[in-house]
Symmetry: C2
Subunit: 193 residues, 2 copies
DNA sequence: ATAAGGCCGTGACCTATATCAACGGCATTT
DNA sequence: AAATGCCGTTGATATAGGTCACGGCCTTAT
């Protein structure tokens, strides 16, 4: 059950068997069916989750009821509303499952314990967050400077798996465009090809 | 010279005098005149910098020559192209001074040494990067879901100091709009008031 | 098997923002 | 004090993308 987590962590930091045994005791396995919530906007985020299987999305909903997807999280990635998890404040985001999924949950208290007892995990999460920041910065610049088509091409290039597994209207809301616009871009692209 | 850095670090983690004495040996003071570069696009980012005084901007330039500002960094904040600093790859961003500025530079080698010798700094940077990620995620969502006016109002609210110190056309390029549009938004706002 | 709803495509029209161009006001340089 | 850049403003026009409306095709539920 924990082999995959062990593998992913091991790709970034070195830890001993004993350290990982301690780590294991802190996680709570959880299965989520497609469409189930991990977190609803307005609730406090109790957990951060490692995705063993499946796919989740983190999104916010604006006044008009439109969804804006912050990220997709598939196998081997982590998912949470970082701010709410860290502060206990109500979340601005909703997280739900796009497929039946299997997660390993950790509470804030356990997470604090993990970072305190095993400094290598402090480093692990620093690196994880760092890479996430770099990716988010790039997406921000892309979002303010590129056309819809370029953003889509960039996504095709960087997350081809997502595009296979996620319905198109969610891709659109990840890119910050409407599903109609994405549909038209795709048909133009295939016409040109 | 290092009091300010000491104070800012102390707000997040606890460190001893000896630890900070070691820390001090790793930084290189540097003054930058207005308009001078800290980093040019295409170069590798040799340093991460703590801003003691002044204001810098990190931006990219698109094919049409338009600038897109990723962030402003004033006193007490850090500035670098994280990706280039970490990997040694050529930078996608340019960093320059908007005012005469005073910086404390640290190389990648020294930074690695600092994190290895003093685990509290591992935590310090984890938290720093974490907060930056939270802010960047919010800006991304705002960028894909809100009107130009709302984005401007949000900035007025969150970074009023920036708006005082930075020329308007740079605020526009931070928001991802043209200077003409920002000018019109401002005049509409003052007409309504 | 039929109904209901999610998902995708397409047309007609609308709107926020970009683009292009010109102008006036400050600073800075000569 | 004239000249040269920056900077912000304003007007006219263009355009990418949004909105609204409809229809067809699957999948899931009854």
């Amino acid at each position: 059950m924990f082999e995959f987590l062990r593998k992913k962590v091991g790709e970034t930091i070195a830890i001993t068997e004993e350290e990982f045994d301690f780590c294991k005791t802190l996680f709570i396995p959880k299965k989520l069916r497609k469409k189930q919530y991990l977190l609803q906007e307005g609730d406090a985020s109790a957990y951060t989750a490692f995705v063993e299987k499946g796919m989740l999305r983190t999104y916010s909903i604006d006044e008009k009821g439109n969804e804006h997807i912050l990220q997709f999280s598939s196998e081997g990635w982590w998912v949470s509303d970082l701010y709410s998890f860290l502060t206990g404040e109500p979340s601005l985001f909703t997280i739900d499952a796009l497929e039946d999924s299997e997660l390993l949950l950790i509470t804030k208290a356990s997470w604090d314990k993990l970072l305190d007892k095993i400094p290598a995990f402090e480093r692990y999460f620093r690196i994880l967050i760092q890479n996430n920041l770099i990716a988010t910065q790039r997406r921000l610049i892309s979002s303010i400077s590129e056309t819809a088509e370029k953003k889509y091409l960039k996504l095709l290039d960087s997350q081809p798996d997502c595009i296979q597994r996620v319905p198109q209207h969610m891709i659109a809301s990840y890119l910050g465009i409407t599903r109609e616009t994405l549909s038209r871009i795709r048909s133009q692209m295939s016409a040109r090809k």
